[in-house]
């Protein structure tokens, strides 16, 4: 699809280019989790996990919330909506596209076309 360069998109692509970070997104899709529990699950140091989460947060894919000494991570609103938006975008595009194609087709039909390709 159409892609114009934008810092936000570049950050998203960069954030999702790493297998661990994609794994974090999958985990958070199932349940919110603290940085500590994510670090345990991915067998990483706390510092390493913090770096990954920072990258995801800057890209808007993850939101963190600090309560006392625990930083909880959850998916950013955009991450959850992305798929639905993408589908919706395609539906809008194709519905319009195909309505225009209908018009072209009925014109061909009116030419008394026998359906043979030219």
């Amino acid at each position: 699809m159409v892609q114009c360069s934008s810092p936000r998109l570049d950050r998203s692509f960069a954030a999702l280019s790493d297998a661990t970070r994609r794994g974090i997104i999958v985990q958070l899709g199932q349940a919110d989790a603290s940085i500590t529990s994510l670090a345990d699950r991915f067998e990483m140091t706390l510092t390493g996990m913090k770096k990954h989460v920072d990258v995801l947060e800057r890209a808007g894919l993850v939101v963190t919330h600090k309560a006392g000494r625990v930083r909880t991570c959850r998916l950013g609103p955009r991450g959850l909506r992305a798929e639905a938006e993408w589908i919706e975008l395609h539906r809008t595009l194709f519905e319009d596209r195909y309505a225009a194609l209908d018009a072209v087709i009925s014109e061909i039909n009116q030419e008394g076309s026998d359906g043979s390709a030219g």
């Binding site: 936000r8 998203s12 938006e85 589908i87 194709f94 309505a99 225009a100 061909i108 390709a117």
Partner: protein, 167 residues
């Protein structure tokens, strides 16, 4: 699946969009004409350019449309997006079976999808299936993140521009 509307009249034909598996997009739609007619509208550049990119949705105009629709042939579409400049989409036809199927590559990106369109006759009408397969789940995620994140914004900007709100 939903019951298809029994009305004749093309306004009743529903466009169904699904994401299948980890890396596929499928769009299906019925057209009130035999496959030969629909295929013509898809494979002849002068007809294709009239419907492929409706301005109402994208705000971009198709300014160049070169299509050599045969196995091994190439295509190149160029769009003008006003101030945003021009965008080009290009690739080659991997397989062309007149009135039945067209398969092409999308070479403008790193991890381009393979697109397959099939034209299937059903009671004198055509069931058209548009199928896009990305090479990996990550590539689809990128397309998903990219278009979902970027396009609504672009469309909003465009709307503002059209409404005369652009500074």
């Amino acid at each position: 699946m939903d019951q298809q509307d029994k009305d004749t009249g093309s306004a009743r034909n529903r466009t169904v969009v699904e994401r299948k598996g980890d890396r596929e997009l499928v769009v299906t739609r019925t057209f009130d004409a035999p496959p030969g007619v629909v295929y013509r509208a898809w494979s002849q550049p002068e007809l294709f350019r009239r419907w492929w990119m409706p301005r109402s949705v994208s705000g971009v105009a198709l300014v160049a449309c070169d299509m050599d629709v045969r196995t091994g042939g190439k295509y190149r579409l160029e769009f003008s997006a006003g101030d945003a400049g021009t965008m080009a989409f290009y690739g080659k036809y991997l397989e062309v079976v007149p009135n039945e199927r067209i398969v092409w590559t999308n070479d403008e990106g790193e991890a381009g999808a393979i697109t397959t369109v099939t034209f299937e006759e059903q009671d004198g009408k055509t069931l058209l299936r548009f199928h896009e397969a990305y090479p990996s789940e990550a590539a689809l995620e990128e397309a998903l993140q990219g278009s979902a994140a970027g396009l609504p914004e672009q469309l909003d900007q465009l709307e503002e521009l059209l409404a005369g709100g652009g500074g």
